[in-house]
């Protein structure tokens, strides 16, 4: 059993296709693992004993619209039996609509909601033979960097249960790192795939904006939201990206990637140029994280890669621009939660507006209210140009910085997060301190370019006693828009040289280290 769970998705799919591993046995092993979730990482799991073809609700009553035609095409009663992901169960962040399966986006306002249709990204996975293993916990509406903003309680980091897994895709990162899923789907608006991947010691890929359809992905900030895989290795990220990418008639902003994504095979970095932003020198960064970053740079050179200095002079304003643009778009997107068509309603006896106000007051958590307020303020009369207009111009400048850098280098590299996983409750009192976790990931989101975080080493938390166990440190590689294949090749080569799994050894939670 343990052997089955040690396989990567690519390995398992190949063995299932070759008849060496039974899809039923593999699926059952993962369902049993998921049912043992002790990290509060799942909000829903496929029940044990669910029929293999019953992907909709695992033994629950028939979902609304099952098998019916919808404006989005037919809702299949069953997924494909075979395909590139044949028989592989995948954990899905609870921000993706899944027909008949509870979908909350981590919010109380959607408690009990069962969507009548399934997100395109999830449909593509199941059409390739994958199964929905469970829905993962997350910061409410993807707003957060620690998973402490979930209405359903925080997720624990499998490396250290008193620490956060990062966010907002904290549940997705925790299930992969904790050996509760072979791979997971997440979303990234300002770092919500990459930062939790970094804090949990796994791979997280945010593709180019538009690479994968956003249809059925509950909207936070529409000009920034992009979904992507959280996996144990780079090859699995490539496999899932290849299945999910593509233009979707149901998402007019989807573009897709031109041509299929191949599994990466590259083993050296010769001829590739990596740009290190000179601003990192002064950036607020834990000493342990900086040491791992510098060691990784040295490893790139050993692999034949060339290191060059680049300048991203406007990146330091990324957080400011992001925390205007994202809340502004969120305040508009979240207007739909009004207690009328779906979700919770708090009875307002007097009149309609009171019902809206009560429903939203009780349905939204503190961070969501804060961002809705911030966004509404930034868009309100008299402040629009000063905040939203100015932030959009900063966004242009940041994208221009990357354009200039990519004229000189193939990739831009940074630490993914300024620190290792921090303690539960450590940053909840200061929203701004929490926002600064996104310092290194937000610029790529604003520019719409792809970026991957790979685990690069371990570092003790800042201020920890000597000999304290190390926690994972992520290394971020960003590429020009639609440069995913080249990005994955470079990340794969570096991953092989870093051999994080060997460095982590028995401490890796998926090996049972932290679980023992």
């Amino acid at each position: 059993m343990a052997d089955l769970l040690d396989l990567t998705v690519a390995e398992a799919a190949a063995k299932i296709a070759a008849g060496e591993v039974s899809a039923e046995e593999y699926g059952a092993a993962w369902r049993a693992a998921a049912a043992g979730d002790d990290l509060n990482a799942y909000l829903w799991t496929a029940d044990e004993g669910a029929g293999e073809t019953d992907w909709t609700g695992a033994g629950e009553s028939a979902p609304p619209g099952a098998g019916e035609e919808t404006p989005y095409g037919a809702n299949p009663a069953a997924p494909a039996d075979s395909g590139p992901l044949g028989g592989v169960p995948i954990a899905i962040k609870d921000i993706f609509t899944t027909q008949g399966i509870p979908t909350t986006a981590g919010s109380k306002i959607l408690e009990g909601y069962r969507p009548p249709y399934t997100a395109t990204a999830v449909r593509k996975l199941t059409a390739a033979g994958a199964r929905v293993l469970g829905k993962t916990n997350m910061d409410e509406f993807a707003m957060g960097s620690s998973n402490e903003n979930s209405a359903y309680g925080p997720v624990r980091n499998p490396w250290d249960r008193d620490r956060v897994p990062g966010g907002s895709s904290g549940g997705s990162a925790a299930v992969v790192a904790g050996g509760l899923a072979p791979a997971a789907l997440g979303t990234d608006t300002g770092g919500s795939i990459r930062q939790p991947a970094s804090l949990c010691g796994i791979v997280g890929l945010k593709p180019t904006y538009g690479a994968i359809s956003r249809f059925g992905m509950i909207a936070f900030a529409s000009s920034l939201d992009q979904c992507g895989p959280l996996t144990r290795d780079v090859a699995d990220a490539a496999l899932l990206l290849g299945v999910m990418e593509g233009k979707d008639p149901l998402d007019a902003t989807s573009v897709g990637l031109d041509g299929a994504i191949a599994l990466p095979t590259r083993e050296d970095l010769s001829g590739l140029r990596f740009g290190v932003p000179k601003e990192i020198g002064e950036a607020a960064l834990d000493a342990g994280v900086r040491a791992v970053f510098e060691a990784t740079i040295a490893r790139i050179e050993e692999l034949g890669g060339e290191i060059a200095e680049v300048a991203l002079p406007h990146a330091e304003h990324g957080i400011s621009a992001y925390y205007v643009i994202a809340p502004a778009e969120a305040s508009s997107n979240l207007a739909r939660y009004d207690g009328v068509r779906y979700g919770q309603r708090v009875a307002g006896d007097e009149d309609l507006v009171t019902m809206y106000e009560e429903t939203r007051a009780q349905g939204f958590g503190a961070e969501v209210k804060r961002r809705v307020m911030l966004g509404t303020y930034a868009l309100s009369s008299g402040y629009y140009d000063a905040y939203y207009g100015q932030a959009q111009k900063v966004r242009t400048r940041i994208a221009g910085d990357f354009d200039a850098a990519f004229a000189e280098v193939d990739f831009v590299v940074t630490p993914t997060s300024p620190s290792v996983a921090f303690g539960l409750g450590e940053k909840t009192a200061d929203p701004l301190a929490m926002y600064l976790n996104d310092f290194f990931t937000v610029p790529m989101s604003l520019a719409g370019i792809p970026a991957i975080s790979i685990p690069a080493g371990l570092a003790a938390p800042e201020g920890a006693a000597a000999g304290a166990p190390g926690l994972p440190v992520g290394f971020q590689i960003a590429a020009p828009a639609f440069g995913e294949q080249k990005l994955l090749e470079a990340a794969h080569a570096l991953e092989g040289a870093l051999d994080f799994a060997a460095a982590a050894g028995d401490a890796a939670p998926w090996r049972g280290g932290a679980r023992a």
């Binding site: 919808t70 207007a335 068509r341 106000e357 929203p431």
Partner: protein, 97 residues
């Protein structure tokens, strides 16, 4: 920077009811965040194009053909108060202010 009255005004625009304690907290927190955000107001960005979207969007046309709609019972299945094929809400007639 943001006072109590502004918080209440914005809360009304956002259709959020905040209790007294929330108003106080919100005023402090929003002020702190806006102080950080305000750093961009000093940048000289005169004449810089605003980026609203990173994808070069083109108008998309499709054939204007009838398509199956979400069946009414499905569309209403998640509603807090479905009523006779519709969404029932409290009367909007009561005074707003």
């Amino acid at each position: 920077m943001i006072d109590r009255d502004q918080v209440l005004h914005v809360a009304k625009l956002a259709r959020l009811r905040l209790d007294d304690a929330e108003v106080e907290t919100m005023a402090g927190e929003l002020s702190g965040i806006l102080e950080h955000v305000d750093r961009i107001s000093d940048l000289d960005l005169e004449g810089v194009e605003a980026t609203s979207h990173v994808v070069q969007l083109e108008n998309v046309f499709r054939a204007d053909v009838p398509w199956t709609s979400l069946p009414p019972k499905v569309a209403l299945a998640s509603a807090p108060e479905p009523f006779d094929g519709a969404f029932r809400v409290p009367s909007p007639q009561a005074p707003v202010d």
